[in-house]
Structures are given as C-alpha cells and as structure tokens.
C-alpha cells in the first residue's frame, strides 16, 4: 500500500505526538518500509478463521465490587508535574 506523508501526519496528530518536518519525513519513509512487511498478511486466506485477541481463551474471572485500595492520593500526586491543593494543574482548555 502507499501511505502518504499527510496520512502519517494525521495519524501523529491522532496519537497526540508532535513531530518536526524532518522527523515526519524520516518516520514516513520508515513506516512505508514496515508496511511492505505488514502487507504480507493481505495475501493470507483467513476465511472462517476465528480472530485470536489473547492467548488465554478462558473467560475472565470476576471479583467482588468492593473497595480494596486505601486512599494514597498524596503519594501519587507527589509525582505530578504541577498540582494545587488536591488537583492536577493543566493549562486552560477554554480561555
């Protein structure tokens, strides 16, 4: 398949990854090469094959809907790049 640089740029935005022009050009070239590898899958006849999402076919076990963790927000928020009181600080979304 042909993957345009515009498509790579759109995908980078979807993934919220900023890229310079030079980085985008290099990444586009490399991803095109990788897709020549991936495109081998298109030639495989998989009619009637059940997709396998996970090596464990068994059903997920369930747990009781009860609180098992204690409140450790101070410990976790100690890692925050910016915070105020008990809140994470981020730039304004709407001015």
């Amino acid at each position: 398949m042909t993957l345009s640089i515009k498509k790579v740029q759109e995908t980078a935005y979807l993934a919220r990854i900023a890229m310079s022009e030079a980085e985008l050009t290099r990444c586009h070239h490399e991803i095109e090469q990788i897709f020549t590898l991936i495109d081998q899958l298109q030639a495989v006849n998989t009619k009637g094959i059940t997709p396998l999402a996970h090596p464990q076919a068994s059903q997920q076990r369930t747990v009781a809907d009860t609180v098992t963790e204690s409140d450790q927000h101070e410990k976790f928020q100690a890692l925050a790049p910016a915070k105020q009181l008990d809140y994470y600080l981020v730039p304004l979304v709407i001015e």
Binding site: V8, R16, A18, L37, V44, P51, V63, P81, P91, V93
Partner: protein
Amino acid sequence: MHFKTLTELKLALHKKEISSHELVSHYLKRIERFNPQLNTFITVTGESALQEAQKADDLRARDPENAPPLLGLPMAHKDLFCTDGVKTSCGSKMLDNFIAPYDATVVTKCRDAGLITLGKTNMDEFAMGSSNENSFYGPVANPWNTEYVPGGSSGGSAAAVAAGLVPVSTGTDTGGSIRQPAALCGITGLKPTYGRVSRYGMTAFASSLDQGGPFGKSAEDVALLLNAMAGFDERDSTSLNVPAEDYTQHLNRSIAGLKIGLPKEYFKNMNAPMQKALDEALKVLEKLGATLVDISLPHADLAIPTYYVLAPAECSSNLSRFDGVRFGYRCENPRDLNDLYLRSRGEGFGTEVKRRILIGTYVLSAGYYEAYYLQAQKTRQLIKQDFDDAFKNVDVIASPTTPTPAFKIGEKVSDPVTMYQCDIYTLALNLAGLPGLSMPAGFIDGLPVGLQLMGHYMQESKLLNIAHQYQCHSDWHSQHPTAME
C-alpha cells in the same frame, strides 16, 4: 566468586563461607568498576542493598531454619518493574523523573524469597527494541565484545549477568526480549507461559504478549528465580490460577525418550557456523536419549507481520496514559491542553516508540481496523494452531534463538525492518502465549549463540529439565568473558 552460579552462592552462604554483606559489597564494587563501560544499570541501590544484606545476615544467624529460600542473594530488576521509592524509568525520558509509588508483584515476591536488589537495569525504551540501542540512557555493551549489542529489550539485565555484576536478574519478553539477549550474551533466559508471572506493576507495552521471566547463568539458577517470581496474583486479571510448582524438582530427570521437534521453517537459510553450533548442541540432546523429529510450522513466516500489527496496536493504547498531566515528563510552557499532550509526548518518547505508536494508531483507525488488526488476529490464530498441532507429536520444539550472533552497535539502528528480523524465531511464541527458553550453545567468532527450546502451555519444568541435562553435559554456560574478570 562473581562468576559462580546462584546455586553455588546459595550454598556458600549456607555454609557460612561468605556473608551476604560481603557478597553484596563485592557485586556493588564490580558494578562500580564495569558499569561505565557496559552501561547495564540505570539506577544502583547500593545503600539499601547493604542494609538489607546486614538484615539477611542477622536473620540467618538468629533463625537459620526459617530463612527464606534465597536469603541474602543479590539480583537486579529490569527498569520497567515498579519499585516503591526507586526510579522506574522504562529506559525513557518520559519517566526519567518517575519514582514508583508501589512495588510490582514480582519485586515483592523476589524480596519475600530473600533476594536483595542491587539496582535497576538498562533496557530499550518501554521494552521496544532488539539491541538495547533505544534507551534514553544510551546503549548497553555486550560483555563479550563491547563494540557489539547485548540484544534487547532486556539487554541490561542479560549483560549484567553475563559480566558477573549480578548472579540473576529479571526481564520481560513481549517478542523475544528475554530469549534474544540471553542468546547474545551467552546466558540462560526463560519466557514463561503467558499468565505464569504477574504483570502487576510491570509497565505495559503489549498486554496480550508481555510476560516477565528470569535470567541466570544456568537452567538451575533460572528455575530458582522462577520459583520466586511465578504464582497467582489477584491483582493481575490475566494471572493463571494454578498451583505453585517447584521448578527445580525435575531438573535431574532423564530426557531419554523425549521427542524434540525441529521446525524446517526455522532452520532454512541458516548460515553455516550457526548450523554447525546448533547441530552439535542437538547431538548432545540425542546422546542423552532424546529423539529429533522434523516438523513443520507452516505459518512461521507470518509471525513478524502479525506481531508488528498487534504489538504496536496494543502499545498505542497502553502508552496513551503518558500525557504529561499526572506523572512523567511535561513540556515547557504549554499553550493549551492539546499543545501539552502533543509536545509532552513528542519530546518525551524516543524514535522507535513514536514509530510504533503511529503504526498502532493507524492499524486501529477507522477504515483500516479490519484489513490490518482483525486480519492479524486471524493470522495469530493460525500461528497458535500450528503449535497446537505440533505438540500433538512432540514434547518440545528446538530452534536457533536468533539468526546470527550479536551485531555491532549502530549497525542496524537506522533500518527498522532489518532490526525486526532479529526476532524472527522468538515472536511466534509470544503470539501463542507459550513458554520458551534460550540456553548457550556455542560461540561464533568469540560471540555466543543460543538454542531455543519451546514448550506447550505450563511446560516450563520440561524446558528447564532439558536445559539442565544439556548443561550437565556441556560447558558453554559456564564460560565467561575474560575482559570482565
């Protein structure tokens, strides 16, 4: 002392030939001496290790009967296992400032078994790589020749054991990241059955493929560490609820009568020195009574394309949590929230990680999901069925772990497709969720090569049994790099 196995060191501690404090001090000195040239450790926790060693010696003196099985023995963790109060970087700028607020289950279990952590080892960023050149902290060197890569992504853990900086270490394997560096560094490494080892606190790359496992100089050491690491964990929804095993129990069992399958797809196009090394290793297994059987895994060629759809898809989802808001790297002076996300992720992730996130985002996006992601899930089923069929006729499958020995640092870094071929023999096992082991099987031009043993579900003991019997009749595993003495 530093090239002794964990088993030998355990005995030396038990006989009081050495104290844990002396042992830990010795390894810390070696890390200080060799880490500048090997770059195996991102963080060294020397002070706490010495304190724990003193406690271990006190406990052994006070109550030797109730000492945990691996009391006072040193180890290291790959830097994607969370360690409470200690930096857990995943080899990424994104987490360079991240001090984990809790321990991974593997870390807790190793501590409960008495092991002492000397530090956190270098790795490819978020476990994405086959050469350990994708780390924010720089490449790791192979102890057998420091111009060469140690393999990846658990390259720091493997190189540290090979260089005698720790006797054992932990790694993770999403597409070969334990077995491939074990082969390239001349040590033994095991990727357990998916679900054997808890993933709680093990930073996720591709959740349906990731599995933690042990590195050691010998199969016996790997069995001892797996005893500590494995077991059911309520905190991991994919943890297998099966009874605990003693993986050392069957090490000395005869392997006479076992059928070892040799998949023709894994032996084609092999270079002559690699073929020679593997043939000699297989002859040893034959002499021990195993039968070699030619088999076929007809969809083996689909492993690389299938993996490079599914692993990036899962990675793009898992790594969306790194957004510069709650923890990790945040860009300077973001204009708005979108700019914060875009630049924090653009500046915080390295090239390979960004490339894989983009591939994953693309194959999961509207219009491409069926053609790529769903199709790869179907080819994954075909690959798994190949193994199911093969294990109806053989006990284990043997193959090369890698197509070649280690390559030079920088040789493949600008060509991702060539780099991805390094994992050609290891990826399929992760897609099927099966256990696999790599053990030293010789040298080519002074660089180690590995033989891979693949087993059916929950057959780790069988793999360890075969590897141990092989190691009782060969000495590749007991060789060490003379430059590291």
